[in-house]
């Protein structure tokens, strides 16, 4: 519980080393956090560019821009980049920056492991980009399976698939190591007096995220390893011709894939858990119930995966079990939503950009929850399965639920990270622009999906054109808004109004978090002598 373990590395008492060495060999949680955030920002534009190509292709029926296989490859990599390259690293970057500051630790528990966790990411990203490029240089068929990588199609793809499997291995190892590090930090490195139940909600949220990652990420690694064996070493884990079962891969994938949704969601719930009390100027309502809600969410999240597979023909008993389990998840999630609303109730609210994002998340994520319950119901899902209704549902879940939560975090902590206030006016413009564009993009997809437009297909019937035109225009506006986001960040990094140690008036209300006791930006080394929490 003490923090005197600060003396792992000799350079801890000095200023950061100059030049590339500072970043390559960094064991400093703030520098590594910064690198995580920059990495995910770059990946955001890469994955976003792919989304723009998809929307451009779907602007009109017929084939205009992309070959069918390339289109499906874009769909696949858009998903993988956004999940593994953007949301997870961004959340890990925030964890690196904020968890030690919040709990009064001098650094992460395992600083060198931390360095490794980060530097595996560029390696993984390189493999992923090679996988995209290989088909253009005679590498066989591109990966056209969608991010689920279902066999037998994934067994038939060219060498791109192998590169993608290695990508998942590398990124998986990175996030497992990061998760181990975060849990170790939370358990061992808290300042004296910082009990578990005094930790800011963001720390708790990351604790459960890390638990989930350690449990499910290796299962995915095992699944894709078997895929690799089936492709090259003559095994038949998933190949029916040799006695395997392709459905087994679906189970393995979704055993990872469904908890992964909570991996993406929980850090943002954590951000909201610190942002909403700040701008409501009230302590967080129901802190304990939120923590226990996350326990329930973590457990339930691990045992309902097959609701993604109702159409494989499971027995009635099995589908019933997965349906009921899935609907039960709305209880802990609903509890979180109500706790946030009650935190705002009769608070002295102001609407800075992070708060705007948090409120928008509550509304839009609840909407995604409603469509999620629709999809959980077996007979209804058989109708909606693999349509744009599903696409609309999970984008409503993940863009507000994960991405906007991270945006809230970026605006909330930018002053702490950079020492400068961001331009509030531009921040609010960005919020309204991106939120409206997001809804214009994805709301019509509910209708085209209910009308039967299938997902992951390059072309569509002319009757869906109006919805797709609206969706594409919204999509372009949504993409464009991120240039403003980039501009705001660069502007804030380069200068602006000086930020005080506690830039938000209500930030310390009802929380023992120590992040506001250090200056903005914090010195290179913080809490080398342990602070005491009263």
């Amino acid at each position: 519980m003490s923090t005197v373990a600060a003396h792992h590395d000799d350079d801890h008492h000095h200023a950061p080393p100059a030049g590339m060495k500072r970043w390559l060999f960094s064991t400093n949680h703030k520098d590594i956090g910064t690198m995580y955030l920059i990495f995910s920002l770059i990946m955001l534009f890469l994955g976003g560019g792919m989304a723009m190509l998809i929307r451009a292709e779907l602007y009109m029926p017929g084939l205009q821009l992309l070959e069918p296989d390339l289109y499906n490859n874009m769909v696949t990599n858009h998903a993988l980049i956004m999940v593994f390259g953007v949301v997870m690293p961004a959340a890990a970057g925030m964890a690196n920056w904020m968890i030690p500051l919040m709990i009064g630790a001098p650094d992460m528990a395992l600083p060198r492991l931390n360095n490794l966790s980060f530097w595996l990411l560029p390696a993984g990203a390189t493999l992923l980009i090679m996988s995209v490029l290989a088909p253009f240089f005679g590498g066989g068929a591109p990966v056209n399976t969608g991010w689920t990588l279902y066999p037998p199609l994934s067994i038939q793809a060219g060498m791109s698939m192998d590169l993608l499997i290695f990508t998942l291995h590398v990124l998986g190892i990175s996030s497992i190591l990061a998760s181990i590090n975060i849990i170790t930090t939370i358990i061992n490195m808290r300042a004296p007096g910082m009990t578990m139940m005094k930790m800011p909600l963001f720390v708790w949220a990351w604790f459960f995220t890390a638990v989930l990652l350690i449990i499910v990420m290796p299962a995915l690694a095992g699944g894709v390893t078997m895929l690799l064996f089936d492709r090259h070493f003559g095994t038949s884990f998933f190949d029916a011709a040799g006695g395997g079962d392709p459905v087994l891969f679906q189970h393995l994938f979704w055993f990872f894939g469904h908890p992964e949704v909570y991996v993406l969601l929980l850090p943002s719930i954590g951000v909201m858990g610190v942002v909403i009390p700040t701008f409501s100027r009230k302590p967080l309502f129901g802190y304990k119930s939120l923590v226990w809600g996350m326990v329930v969410l973590t457990i339930l999240g691990c045992v309902v995966w097959a609701h993604h597979q109702y159409t494989i023909g499971m027995s009635v008993f099995a589908t019933k079990y997965f349906m009921i389990g899935t609907i039960l998840i709305s209880i802990p999630v609903g509890l979180m939503i109500f706790n946030f609303v009650f935190t705002m109730w009769r608070g002295a609210m102001t609407f800075e950009t992070p708060m705007l994002f948090s409120i928008a998340i509550i509304i839009m994520f609840s909407f995604a929850g409603a469509t999620g319950v629709m999809l959980a119901v077996v007979p209804a899902d058989l109708q909606y399965h693999d349509t744009y209704f599903v696409v609309a549902h999970f984008h409503y879940a993940l863009i507000p639920g994960a991405l906007f939560g991270l945006y809230a975090g970026v605006f909330y902590w930018l002053p702490k990270w950079t020492g400068h206030m961001y331009n509030e006016k531009l921040g609010k413009i960005f919020f309204w622009w991106t939120t409206i564009a997001f809804n214009v993009t994805f709301f019509p997809q509910h209708f085209s999906g209910l009308a039967g437009m299938p997902r992951r297909i390059v072309d569509y019937g002319v009757q869906f054109q109006e919805f797709n035109v609206i969706s594409s225009i919204g999509g372009f506006a949504f993409g464009l808004s991120h240039l403003l986001f980039l501009y705001i960040i660069i502007q804030t990094v380069r200068g602006g109004k000086k930020a005080p140690a506690m830039p938000w008036e209500g930030a310390q209300i009802g929380t023992s978090g120590l992040e506001w006791t250090v200056s903005s930006p914090p010195p290179h080394h913080t809490f080398t002598t342990p602070p005491t929490v009263k």
């Binding site: 003490s2 005197v4 373990a5 600060a6 003396h7 792992h8 070959e67 069918p68 296989d69 528990a109 395992l110 492991l113 088909p135 066989g140 068929a141 591109p142 038939q156 793809a157 060219g158 497992i176 998760s179 181990i180 849990i183 170790t184 358990i187 061992n188 490195m189 350690i214 449990i215 499910v216 990420m217 290796p218 299962a219 995915l220 690694a221 095992g222 699944g223 390893t225 078997m226 492709r231 003559g234 038949s236 884990f237 190949d239 029916a240 011709a241 040799g242 079962d245 459905v247 087994l248 189970h251 393995l252 494989i312 023909g313 499971m314 027995s315 008993f317 099995a318």
Partner: protein, 216 residues
């Protein structure tokens, strides 16, 4: 002096604790990796025991003597539909000689399937059956079936092979139609892994649909 010693002792304690937590969690990760592989046999067992996976490949094989005194339920007629699929790019022809038959539960019935090897070399295959709906698979009992053995056909050879089956009387009342589907596979895994280049997409999409034999 005493204070700095105390700090050093504290630091060592935390370092040891970090190590412990790291190793424990690392072990969990490794175990979960193993769990993925353990699921391969586990999944098969769970499916066998509970029948949660509908496309049951374990349709029942029985001895002819076992079904001698099986009661024939003349009050019901069940339609059996036959389906044939060729896995991958196997150059075979494979189809049922009759599209569907009607049988009384308990009544023995013989049908046949047509096989032809269009390759220029001998090929050995195995047929894998599946019955839908899954609830019926337990009650569809095969007395003789080509699927009990592998089939080796010389280049250009064609053959008809029989299937003798009985649907037992315990078949749930609500099931009036069941489909027996065979998928025929090249058992030489090395050859089966040789895939056509799918990047030549335009021609290939047609090729794949042609490869699936339509039923007469």
């Amino acid at each position: 002096m005493a204070e700095s010693e105390q700090i050093a002792a504290q630091a060592a304690k935390i370092k040891a604790s970090n190590r412990r937590v790291f190793l424990t969690l690392g072990m969990v990760a490794v175990l979960m990796f193993g769990f993925a592989f353990a699921l391969v046999p586990l999944y098969r067992i769970i499916c066998d025991v509970t029948g949660v996976n509908s496309v049951a490949t374990n349709t029942t094989r029985v001895k002819a003597s076992d079904v001698v005194d099986m009661v024939v339920d003349r009050s019901r007629l069940v339609t059996i539909e036959f389906d044939a699929t060729i896995n991958g790019n196997l150059p075979w022809e494979f189809k049922p000689s009759i599209k569907k038959v009607q049988v009384h539960p308990g009544e023995r019935k013989q049908v046949s399937y047509y096989f032809k090897n269009n390759a220029d070399h001998p090929v050995t295959t195995q047929s894998v059956p599946g019955v839908t709906p899954w609830q019926a698979s337990r009650h569809f009992q095969k007395i003789e079936c080509f699927c009990f053995n592998t089939q080796t056909l010389a280049a250009g050879e064609e053959v008809e092979m029989g299937l003798l089956f009985v649907v037992d009387a315990e078949l749930p009342k609500e099931i009036n139609t069941l489909t027996l589907s065979y998928t025929i596979m090249d058992i030489d895994r090395g050859k089966a892994l040789e895939k056509p280049d799918l990047s030549a997409a335009d021609n290939d999409y047609e090729g794949q649909s042609a490869r699936r034999i339509s039923m007469r």
